[in-house]
Amino acid sequence: MENTNLKTPADFLQKILGKPVYVRLHSGIYYKGTLACLDGYMNIALENTEELYEGKVTNSYGDAFIRGNNVLYISPA
């Protein structure tokens, strides 16, 4: 396996802090930005964020807070 040092999902999230990520919400919207921090609710702070819907950029934010209950997944970009 490639990431044998990864033990838990929390370890994965720690590893991708400060890196560019895709965050997908249940609504189907994606946010692409730098993962500034996150908490136990999976609330997320992103920097230099682009909002994408159906492949098109629909908005951009310098900083964005995303409420954790809306999050479907987080993936390194």
């Binding site: 921090c37 908490d39 920097e47 934010y61 310098g62 964005a64 807070f65 995303i66």
Partner: protein, 85 residues
């Protein structure tokens, strides 16, 4: 303020909300009381039966203004500081 300089002040996501809402009342659920709020409702008429795939119906935009507005936190998706000119 750029995202880079802000990152040093943010250690948890709610710190960003604190920066956005320093003048307003809010709590950990993201319940918040907004002053001079503007609501924008965008609707697309759903007539997919008559329209070709991928096309959307007519767009209508309604706006409402509120001197004071309480927003229940569970419907919040995203909070971001207003854009600076």
């Amino acid at each position: 303020m750029s995202g880079v300089s802000m990152s040093s002040m943010i250690t948890e996501p709610l710190d960003l909300v604190k920066l956005c809402l320093d003048e307003q009342a809010y709590d950990q659920h993201l319940n918040m009381v907004l002053e001079d709020a503007k609501e924008t409702v965008t609707n697309f008429e759903d007539d997919r039966d008559q329209v070709n795939d991928g096309e959307i119906g007519e767009k209508t935009v309604q706006t409402h203004s509120y001197k004071l507005l309480f927003v229940r936190g569970d419907s919040v998706v995203l909070v971001s500081p207003p854009k600076r000119a």
